[in-house]
Subunit: 326 residues, 2 copies
C-alpha cells in the first residue's frame, strides 16, 4: 500500500481524499492542515488530522504528500520545502513561474533524495499531455485549448472584489463556432473569438447594478477582451443553482499529412466534469502513485507529466497493462 | 538529426516516410524492401532504396528503423531479428500475441544493447494511452473504445475471399446511441450494440448477389455478431468513391468521484483521420524519436507506449516543453 498524506483541506484536498479512498493500492495516513486539526472533518472518522508542523518531525508515515494548496502563495514555498523530506505532488499552475518553481523543487528534491511531480491536475496536466501528443504526431497543423463550460474561481473572485457585490460566479464558455473552425485547421483566433464569459452576481443592498455591470465588463485582462454577460440574481438563486463547480474543456489538434498535405487528421480530447476540484484531486492521486514508483526506481528530482511514463499512473503491473489495456 | 530507416514500403511505410520528411529533426537514410529496389518510387528522388538484406551488412547509417510490415507474418520474425542490431519501432497489433512478441523483442534488444518500442500507432498506441489515463484517474467507472467510421482492411479482405467477389470495402461504423450511453456511465454492451458494418461489393460477372450477401452477413466472427448492410456497386464507383482509407474512433471513460460518487466525470478522446496508414506512420515517427532518446539515455530492451515519457515524443527540449506546452 502506498501511504499518502494530504496537505491542505480545501476543495482540492477533499478531492484528493476521495480519490485516495477510491484507490485500492493507497492508504490515507494523514491530513495535514494549517487550521485547528479539530475543525477538520475528514470523510472517514479514522483518518488522522495533524497540524502541518507535524511534517517537520521525524517519523511521519508517508510515502507521498499530495500538496493541495494554492499556486499564488502556498506552493511556491511549500513544495520545495517539503520536497527536502518527502516525495511530493502539486498542481502548481502559474504558467510564467513554472521554470522557477521547477528549478526550486528540483534542487530541493535532489538534496533530499526525493521525487517530486509538479503541475499535475488537468490543465496543466492531462491537457499538457494532449498538447504534446498533438504537436508531436501532427507537427504541421494548428491546435488550441478551450476551457469550459465551467466556473473560473479566479474570475469569480475578481468580481467579488467589486464594491457592491455580495457574491459572484463566473462561467467560461467555449465558442462552438471557433472550436469547429479549429477542428477544420483554421487558426489566428483572439481571446474574444474563443470564449465568452457569463457572470452571475448577487448585489449588496443599494448597489447600482449598472455601475457594477460596467465595472465587470471593462475590467482589464479579466473581462475587457471578452464578450461578457452579467446576470443579477438573488442569494437564494445563487445557493440553489450555482453551488457546484463544474468545468472541463477541449484540446484540439488538426494537422495535415501526406506528400501533398492532402490528408486531414483530427485529434481531440474532451473533459466534462461535474466537479473541477474532485477531478483535480483524482489526477493528483494517480500522479502520487507514479511519484512513489519513480522514487522506488531510484529517480530523484523534479518531474512533470511530460517525464512520467503513463503506465506508472495505473495500479496494474506492466504485464497486466500490456495484456489488458494495450 | 535522427537517422531513420523504413522497412517495408506499403501504405504504412509511405505514411512513415511522409512523417519523417515532415520532421525537422529527422533524416530518412533509407527505405529497405523485399521487392526489387528499382520498383520503389520514394517521395523524394534522393531517398536511397535498398534490398532488406542490406540491413545484415555492417555500416547502415540508421539510428532507428520503423518497421512497417504486417502483424500476421512479418513483424513476429522481423522485429526481434532486427532488434538484435538496430533500435526498432513497430505497430504489432495481434493482441493475443503481444506478451510473446514483447518477450522475444525484449530478449533480442537486450542481447543487442538496443531499444525497441512495439505496438505503436493509434490502436494499440494512442488509444492505449487514453485507456490508461481513463482507468487510472477514474478507477470507478465504465469505458469503452469505439472504432470508425472507417475502413477495416481485415474485414475488406475477408469479403474479397468470397467466391464471386471482385472487390470489396468494409466500413466499421460506431453506433451513436451506444456511445451516448457509455458517456452516461452505462455498460454491458454487445458487439452488435457498439458497431454496425457496411460492405461495398463489386461482383464478378455472373455471381449471385443474394448468395454473396448471405455469405457475408453470416460469416463467423467477422460479420455474424453485427448488423451488416451489403451494397453492390460497380468497379467505377468503387474506384471513385471508396479509394481512401479513412478511419478514427473514440476512447470514452465515464467515472464517478466524491464520497457519495455524486460527481460524474467524462474523459473522451477522438480521432478523425482521412488516412489511417498516414496517421499510423506519423505516430510511428514520433515513437521513433522517443526510441532514439531512450537508447541515448542508456535504456535497453523492449518498451511499449506505456513505458515512454510523452515528452520524448516531441522534438522540443524538456525546458521548451515546460515553457510552451505545460
Amino acid at each position: 500500500m502506498i501511504r499518502i498524506g494530504i496537505v491542505g483541506y480545501g476543495n482540492v484536498g477533499r478531492g484528493a481524499e476521495s480519490a485516495v479512498l477510491q484507490s485500492e493500492d493507497m492508504v490515507l495516513t494523514g491530513i495535514f492542515t494549517r487550521r485547528a486539526p479539530e475543525s477538520i472533518h475528514p470523510q472517514r472518522d479514522d483518518t488522522p488530522v495533524y497540524p502541518i508542523s507535524r511534517l517537520e518531525e521525524p517519523g511521519a508515515e508517508v510515502d507521498v504528500l499530495l500538496l493541495c494548496g494554492g499556486s499564488a502563495t502556498d506552493l511556491p514555498l511549500q513544495t520545495p520545502e517539503l520536497a527536502h523530506r518527502y516525495c511530493v505532488v502539486d498542481t502548481f499552475d502559474t504558467h510564467a513561474r513554472i521554470p522557477e518553481h521547477f528549478a526550486n523543487v528540483d534542487a530541493a528534491a535532489k538534496e533530499g533524495a526525493t521525487a517530486a511531480i509538479i503541475s499535475t491536475g488537468w490543465d496543466p496536466g492531462l491537457f499538457s499531455l494532449m498538447r504534446i501528443l498533438g504537436t508531436s504526431v501532427l507537427p504541421e497543423g494548428t491546435g488550441d485549448t478551450f476551457w469550459g463550460p465551467g466556473v473560473s474561481q479566479g474570475h469569480s473572485d475578481a468580481v467579488r472584489r467589486i464594491e457592491g457585490v455580495a457574491d459572484a460566479r463566473q462561467y467560461t464558455i467555449p465558442v462552438q463556432k471557433t472550436m469547429q473552425a479549429v477542428r477544420k485547421g483554421e487558426s489566428g483566433f483572439t481571446a474574444r473569438d474563443k470564449h465568452t464569459r457569463e457572470v452571475y452576481v448577487v448585489l449588496k443592498e443599494g448597489a447600482d447594478p449598472q455601475r457594477v455591470a460596467q465595472e465587470i465588463i471593462t475590467m482589464p485582462n479579466y473581462f475587457d477582451a471578452y464578450d461578457t454577460t452579467v446576470h443579477f440574481i438573488s442569494a437564494d438563486e445563487m445557493a440553489a443553482e450555482h453551488a457546484a463547480m463544474p468545468h472541463g474543456g477541449f484540446v484540439i489538434r488538426s494537422g495535415r499529412l501526406g506528400a501533398a498535405r492532402q490528408y486531414d487528421s483530427l485529434m481531440e480530447f474532451k473533459l466534462e466534469l461535474d466537479s473541477n476540484p474532485m477531478f483535480t484531486g483524482a489526477v493528483m492521486a494517480a500522479f502520487g502513485r507514479a511519484c512513489h514508483r519513480l522514487h522506488e526506481q531510484g529517480r530523484r528530482g523534479c518531474f512533470t507529466a511530460f517525464d512520467v511514463p503513463l503506465g506508472l499512473l495505473s495500479p496494474l503491473s506492466a504485464e497486466e497493462l500490456r495484456g489488458k489495456l494495450l
